[in-house]
Structures are given as structure tokens and as C-alpha cells.
């Protein structure tokens, strides 16, 4: 693993995509869970390079390993074999250096903390001063349109607002990499559309690298610069689709032929990778 990290500045040989500004580099990564019913091949021979400032979506049916892959990047799971580097470090080093912000499927706000205190949680863990914590909480809550809700407790907010607070929490320590695991999966479509627009605006403002797990094709196409299509048993990448819809996307873009063409290709990829027989 450290080899891969050392290779990097010289530029990895034999790869077509320029990795000089690579954030994540995954080579031949496999992960097998040993269960009582035998081994489960969660990830099989995954290769992926993510560049700085990209918005990458992992899409695929449940069980395709998209969340597992995200968790490997976050060092919440360990790969069985293969190489992976995050910002030139091993995932563990990256985690210990707090190089990424992680947004979970549920807001995972601590119910005994106010919204502001929830956003401050990582800052407290990192030992920032109270003044710095307050300033950052204010700033990032305003960024996700939650100004004025600082002193509310999580249960006083709607599901969409709670998830926005959790995004503010992930952004509060300004990580350059944002890992999002189906963050809007539990929300209704209207709220989800709105949050997608906000997330895109946020990404345009901050230019962070985002890895976004979803099982919604429109969501993936609308948000991403590239879409990674995955399939289950064993979890693997079957297609990587460029999604060159440009910046300043609005929800109307979903009616354009270009959007529909990309969505069609994602759908075909998913169909090809997914056997409905088993």
C-alpha cells in the first residue's frame, strides 16, 4: 500500500488518466467477508482513480458493494487484498489525519446535542477553541440554509433539515474529501430534489471532491461528473460513465436529451450487471 503512495509523485505508469491531482487510487481491490454461510465476495478486483474536485457517484442495486467500497475508503472496513490510497496515504492514515468528512444514510445526529453542538462535535474532538467552534458552526449551518436553527434539538427538525445539519457537520472541519453514503435515500422525492440542487451549489462553491453513493439513476446523473456503475455477487465495477453536463445544472436539465442518454447508459449498465435469475 505504501508503495502505491510513494509511486504517486512520479505518476503511475501504465495508466491512461493523469493522476497528478489524484485523490483516491484503488487498484485490484477485493474484500471478502467470512460469514457462517461461507465467504461473501463484497468487492472483487475494483480499480478506480478519483481526481481532485470530481463528483463521483457509485450506483448499483443493493448488495453491489457500493457502500462497502465507500467504507473501505473511509477505513471503516479493511480490504482483503489490493491497494488503495487516499490523498496519497493509506485509508487508516487518512482517517487518523481526519482527511474526509462522512455523511451517513441517516443523519446520525446525537439527540442530546443542539444542532449547533452537533456541528461542533468533530471540532470538539479535534480540540478547537470555543470561539473557533462557534464561528465554524455558524458558517456551515448558514451554508446549508440552517441559520436560526442553532439552538434546536434534532427532533425539532424535519428529516431533510437533519440531513443538512449532518452535511454541515461533515463540512465543519473543512475536509477536502466528502464521502456520502445514500444521504438522501430516506427522504421523499421533493425534498431530495431540493437537497440535490443545494448539494450541487455547495459543491460548486467549495470544489471539494465528493464520492456519493446512491441507487437513484436521476440523482446520480444530475449530480455527478462521473458515474461508477456497480453490480452484485461479486461486487464489481462494470462501467464508468462520464457525465459531462457542465456546471450550473438546474433540475430542468433532466428533460434534456443529453441527460436522458446518460441515464439510459447507466440503466443499461445496471441491467447488464444484474441477473434477475438469482
Amino acid at each position: 500500500m505504501s508503495d502505491a503512495a510513494l509511486d504517486r509523485p512520479a505518476g503511475p505508469a501504465g495508466r491512461s488518466d493523469g493522476l497528478s491531482d489524484g485523490v483516491i487510487d484503488i487498484r485490484d481491490l477485493s474484500l471478502t467477508f467470512q460469514t457462517a454461510d461461507g465467504p461473501v465476495y463484497a468487492l472483487s478486483h475494483v480499480d478506480l482513480a478519483v481526481r481532485k474536485g470530481e463528483f463521483i457517484s457509485f450506483i448499483g442495486p443493493s448488495g453491489c458493494g457500493k457502500t462497502t467500497l465507500l467504507r473501505v475508503i473511509a477505513d471503516l472496513e479493511q480490504a482483503s487484498s489490493g491497494q488503495i490510497s487516499v490523498n496519497g496515504l493509506t485509508p487508516e492514515e487518512a482517517r487518523l489525519n481526519r482527511q474526509y468528512g462522512y455523511v451517513f444514510q441517516a443523519p446520525a445526529l446525537y439527540p442530546w446535542r443542539t444542532i449547533e453542538k452537533n456541528v461542533m462535535l468533530p471540532l470538539e474532538v479535534f480540540g478547537m477553541t470555543a470561539a473557533e467552534r462557534t464561528a465554524r458552526a455558524r458558517k456551515y449551518l448558514a451554508l446549508v440554509n440552517l441559520a436560526g436553527f442553532e439552538q434546536k434539538f434534532p427532533w425539532q427538525l424535519s428529516g431533510g433539515m437533519q440531513q443538512r445539519a449532518s452535511i454541515a457537520r461533515a463540512l465543519s472541519f473543512d475536509p477536502q474529501l466528502l464521502l456520502m453514503d445514500e444521504p438522501f435515500g430516506a427522504l421523499d422525492e421533493i425534498v431530495r430534489d431540493k437537497l440535490n440542487e443545494q448539494l450541487l451549489r455547495l459543491w460548486a462553491e467549495t470544489r471539494k471532491t465528493v464520492i456519493f453513493v446512491t441507487h437513484s439513476i436521476p440523482e446520480a446523473v444530475f449530480l455527478s461528473t462521473r458515474i461508477v456503475v456497480m453490480s452484485p455477487r461479486p461486487g464489481r465495477i462494470i462501467d464508468i460513465i462520464d457525465c459531462d453536463l457542465g456546471d450550473n445544472r438546474s433540475l430542468d436539465i433532466r428533460e434534456t436529451p443529453r441527460f436522458l442518454a446518460i441515464a439510459q447508459r447507466v440503466r443499461e449498465g445496471l441491467r447488464a450487471g444484474h441477473s434477475y435469475d438469482d
Binding site: 471503516l76 482517517r95 481526519r98 474526509y100 462522512y102 444514510q105 441517516a106 446535542r113 443542539t114 470538539e124
Partner: protein, 304 residues
């Protein structure tokens, strides 16, 4: 929202008063009715004829087998409000031992000390069990076994053993209380400290939070509701422990001593009034814990 909450609260409160009163009245009626058959063999009733007269006499016997409720309440009144609370001695003003409040205070002080010791012990044990697999395996069986031994069997041993090294009075009783009340706290806190879900724990992991940070910022606050549920059980059995601790030594003071002396001299009314006082004390303690719970959970943003 507050209007909705109050409009919901009002009919519920009114709705529960009547059933409580009905049940209380039924118990009282059964109690008064039972006084005659229970006291039937006493000499005071030997020459009384006529059911009404027999009942009237059965409710006013000096040392009945079963006293009537009003006799207990009267005795309770006479031995608390009806007796001087303080007494002047050579050492200054002290609580009057003829007043039941004196005995209640003796028991209460042991209860509170034992409750504090036991709760602390329970919390420490739970923290150990949650953080160490070895402790979890080695300690848990002893925790369980400790509660299979009847407290009535172990109380005299503790009192005698501590008495032989010169420890008497408050501390041995508090230790018996602590022995009883650490258990629900330990069990509740293990559950509470393990209550954070995977996501909440993973979140701390992504921050590279230390074990101590994970404990103070996640496990401990998550365990607080469990702690209070356990404390409510612990405070009542603490009181039981203190009373039981007063029985084997023939203590001169405390609600347990009152029960004991009452039974020596056949003072059933005194026994019952001490029991009633103990019950009132227990209720008061539970209310105090519940109040502390409400205030704490409110500050922690729980839903009203």
C-alpha cells in the same frame, strides 16, 4: 404545540383520578372488613355480641393482629407531628428519638450513603464491562451470583464482620444497601453504554476520537436515560437494604429498629406505622429521582 400538549394532558389527568380513588376505596373497605376476622380470637372481642359492635371494637383494639387504617394513621401522626421533633441534651439540640422522624433520618442517611456507593460501584463495573472483554467475562458471573444470595442471609455476616473491626452504625448498613443497589445500576448502565448505534460509533471513528472522547461525548450521554431508570429501582432497594441492615443487630435507632421493637412488644400499630413511613419515604425518594430525571433529560433535549 403547548396548547395541544396541555389539552391532551388535562383529560388524562382527570381520567386517572377516579380509578385511583375507586381502587383505594376498595382496598380500604376490604381492610376494614378484614379487621374483625383477623382479630376475632382476641380477648377484647370475647364478650361482644352483635356484628356492628364487634366491628367497632375490632377497629379500636390496642394491640390488634390487624390494626385498622385510621389507627395506623393516628399512630403515625402522634409519633411524628404529635411529638417534639428536637430534644435538648448536654450536647445541644438533637432529633428526639421518640419522634419517628429521628428513626427515619437514621435509616435515610444509611440509604443515601449506600445508594451513592452502590450507584458509583455499579457505574464503575459497567464501564469496565463495556470496555474490556476480559472484565466482561470475569466480572459478570460474580455480579449475577452476588444477587442470588438472599440479603437476609448476608446482612448479619456483614454486620458482624464489620463490627469485629470496629465499624458499626451507619457504614455497615450503607454497605448492605450498596450491595443491593449496585446491581440494577450495573445492568442498566451496561445496556446504556452499549446503546449507541453503529452509525453514531462510526462517526466518532471517522473523527479519530479517542476511547475517552467516545465515552464522554457518546456513550455516557446515551446511557443517561438508562441510568435514571436504574436509579429509580436502586433507591428503593437501597432503603430496603438499610432497614434489613438494622434488623440483625437489634439496633436502637432506625425504621428497622422500630419494626423490631414493635414485634418484640406486640406493638402492631407501631410496626404498621413504621412500615407506612418507610413506604412514604420510598415514594418520596423515587419522586426525587424522577424529578432529577426530568430536569436532566429536559436539559438534554428530550421530547416533552
Amino acid at each position: 404545540m403547548s396548547a395541544a400538549a396541555s389539552s391532551r394532558a388535562v383529560p388524562r389527568k382527570a381520567g386517572s383520578t377516579v380509578p385511583v380513588l375507586v381502587i383505594t376505596a376498595m382496598i380500604m373497605a376490604a381492610w376494614y372488613a378484614a379487621c374483625l376476622p383477623m382479630n376475632n380470637d382476641l380477648p377484647q372481642l370475647a364478650r361482644v355480641t352483635g356484628l356492628a359492635e364487634r366491628y367497632q371494637v375490632s377497629w379500636a383494639i390496642e394491640r390488634p393482629v390487624l390494626p385498622a387504617p385510621h389507627q395506623i394513621v393516628t399512630e403515625l401522626y402522634n409519633s411524628t407531628i404529635g411529638t417534639r421533633l428536637f430534644r435538648e441534651t448536654a450536647d445541644g439540640v438533637v432529633l428526639n428519638p421518640r419522634n419517628l422522624v429521628f428513626h427515619a433520618w437514621v435509616t435515610l442517611s444509611a440509604t443515601l450513603l449506600g445508594f451513592a456507593m452502590g450507584s458509583l460501584l455499579g457505574i464503575v463495573i459497567a464501564i469496565g464491562i463495556v470496555h474490556s472483554r476480559t472484565l466482561s467475562k470475569s466480572l459478570m458471573p460474580w455480579v449475577i451470583i452476588s444477587q442470588t444470595i438472599p440479603i437476609l442471609a448476608i446482612a448479619p455476616i456483614v454486620i458482624v464482620a464489620l463490627g469485629s473491626i470496629g465499624l458499626t452504625g451507619l457504614v455497615p448498613k450503607a454497605i448492605i444497601s450498596a450491595y443491593l443497589c449496585f446491581f440494577p445500576v450495573a445492568i442498566g448502565m451496561v445496556k446504556g453504554l452499549l446503546s449507541p448505534d453503529t452509525m453514531q460509533l462510526d462517526l466518532m471513528r471517522t473523527y479519530n476520537g479517542s476511547v475517552a472522547q467516545t465515552f464522554w461525548k457518546l456513550r455516557w450521554p446515551a446511557a443517561v436515560p438508562f441510568l435514571f431508570a436504574s436509579l429509580k429501582v436502586a433507591i428503593t432497594i437501597s432503603l430496603v437494604g438499610a432497614i434489613v441492615g438494622e434488623l440483625p443487630t437489634g439496633a436502637q435507632a432506625g425504621l428497622g429498629a422500630r419494626l423490631l421493637s414493635g414485634s418484640y412488644f406486640g406493638q402492631t400499630i407501631q410496626i404498621w406505622s413504621a412500615l407506612l413511613f418507610a413506604a412514604l419515604l420510598a415514594a418520596l425518594l423515587v419522586v426525587a429521582v424522577t424529578l432529577a430525571e426530568r430536569l436532566t433529560l429536559k436539559a438534554m433535549g428530550s421530547r416533552p
